[in-house]
Symmetry: C2
Subunit: 353 residues, 2 copies
């Protein structure tokens, strides 16, 4: 707990003075004010994070955090648990969606075993940091011991800070892999928002109507059994979270402590980010939300975070795929601030519009 407390104390808000200076430059560029929409907000936020009018987000790294979930035995997913390990293998081989999308945007992918149920061969080129072989079934009791939740948060933070220090990463992405993990993520959303699971639960990888109703009841049971206190984010994570969710939250804490932006993927990565922001509200200043997930609970998190996603492409894949796509928009936002000339620089007539 001491290490977590130290991490939390290192997090400070981004710099509003640099943000204001960025807006001044954006408003004096040779185009109508506000005409680049959301890209301008991203540019100004980057200036506040990096404390410069020349933000750089060239070196990009995505952590795909993997973990399994005891609640899978309740039949909440369309896929069997073995698929988690199979997909981790596919990531390591470069065969999967995240590999293709990350390569396209020039980002590296690093896969982390935070809590996969299977024993993964040590020669697989992933980060072997398993905290436990999957969580316990949240429909019966807490997902993990409180000490494991702390370890998960510290794991994510440490990975980010090491990559920042050793490799100079300028933009992090966070993604997930874990069969059944929309179930704990939805439980987290329900716990923090107080809304009934029936209004928040989606089809995950593609379950039918009957399975969806069952999934809602499993989440209701998990909340009734565990009764997580919404004002204690660590308790919510402990009782209805997951190992990859803890690491995803920790990654944002690590990024915020190092004053580096992080863009989260969809439902699961955003749930991790939400846990982090409930622990440390200032962490939000370093968070970008990549896309609006098709999973219905995601919208509630966006409301709670107050950060609009950059993309809305009907995606619901995970792995960090949305984060990869959004990295490209964040990178171009850094360039609009730096590279578009002002009216004065270009000698164009400015009417102040």
């Amino acid at each position: 707990m001491k290490a977590l407390q130290e991490l939390i104390e290192q997090i400070e808000p981004a710099d509003s003075n640099w943000r204001e200076r960025a807006w001044e430059r954006l408003h004096s560029q040779i185009r109508p004010r506000g005409s680049l929409g959301r890209l301008e907000e991203v540019a100004a936020r980057l200036a506040g994070i990096q404390q410069t009018l020349q933000p750089v987000v060239d070196r990009k790294l995505i952590f795909t955090m993997a973990g399994d979930h005891g609640v899978a035995v309740e039949g909440v997913s369309a896929y069997p648990q073995e698929v988690t390990a199979q997909m981790v293998f596919s990531f390591a081989q470069g065969w999967a969606s995240i590999n293709v999308l990350a390569k396209h945007v020039g980002a590296e992918v690093r896969v982390v075993d935070c809590g996969v149920a299977a024993e993964l061969p040590s020669q697989w080129p992933i980060l072997h940091r398993k905290i436990a072989p999957g969580t316990a079934n949240i429909a019966k009791g807490p997902a993990m011991p409180r000490e494991h939740a702390v370890r998960g948060l510290l794991l994510g933070a440490q990975l980010v800070r090491e990559a920042r220090e050793a490799e100079g990463i300028e933009l992090f992405g966070s993604g997930d892999m874990g069969i059944a993990n929309t179930t704990p993520s939805t439980a987290i959303i329900a716990a923090f928002s107080g809304r009934p699971p029936g209004q928040l639960t989606g089809r995950g990888t593609g379950i039918d109507d009957a399975a969806l109703q069952h999934k809602v009841r499993v989440i209701e049971t998990a909340l009734a059994v565990n009764r997580p206190n919404p004002d204690d984010a660590l308790e919510v994570l402990t009782k209805v979270g997951g190992y990859e969710i803890a690491a995803l939250g920790g990654a944002l804490l690590g990024a915020a402590a190092a004053r580096v932006p992080l863009v989260c993927d969809g439902l699961i990565a955003t749930a991790g980010a939400l846990v982090a922001c409930r622990l440390v509200p200032a962490a939000k200043d370093y968070l970008f939300v990549s896309h609006r997930s098709e999973e219905i609970g995601h919208g509630t998190m966006i409301e709670m975070l107050g950060i609009q996603p950059l993309l809305d492409l009907g995606m619901r894949l995970g792995e960090g795929t949305g984060a990869a796509l959004a990295m490209n928009l964040i990178e171009v936002s850094s360039k609009i601030l730096k590279d578009i000339k002002t009216f004065a620089e270009a000698g164009v007539t400015d009417t102040g519009h």
Copy 2:
């Protein structure tokens, strides 16, 4: 008219068999079906356009078509007409938003003087293809002679086909520059949709409430004076269009004739594309709409075209900026089709979801 008729006759629908084969592969990849959302639709459409499961959209070129508008004398814009030429100069210098965004996505920008009112120095590195020094004032009569509208369409088509043949361009983008050009574009939308200008008119570069009301009345006057027949797309273009709008429409016709995809920018480029699709409905198969513009009339065109935009970032700049950003998403879509493995290829358990 003979050359235009020949162009129109060369346009055929994209290949639905290749589109279906693409969907089969997309549905067998190691991820839940449909989980990459809109990117999958783009990938399948590319397969149908290029008639392959290995579509390539690597070589990218954006045409920024420039023209002036006689209706500017009615005070419909926040900027004076001289800004059109100033911005063309800025594009040629690489100072403007489109230069920064296109460079980021690896696309070339080619600026075309289709009808700028000013005499532009011949040494400027743009394509000097002026049809006339700006349109006539549409609030008083037709924008241009019918023969000029045909020339504008053929200009756009020729530019695209030459670039395709000489340089092997695989994806075109279309953007605009022209002070006051949201006014003729909105008149086109009103003419085709039959909706009143009051429901379609936006603030362009940023006019205030009083100027907006005035702009609505100018568009109402233009429609009352010209009475364009909505079933005659060439007449609509002639009476309430513009030279850059004609070339933007022609660019789509040229792309469709050459079986190459084109992604249009916001209000003005989409208006040009709409004219082209009204002339030749099959041209729609080759069109991608880059983003949902903040200009309110854009949504009506999206409805009429039945093509959902890829991005919604609150942008309203023009120049081709939205097209540049969307090129990146179109390119990554081509890669997901080719590079993500199938369940069989990767040995991952497929439950058919």
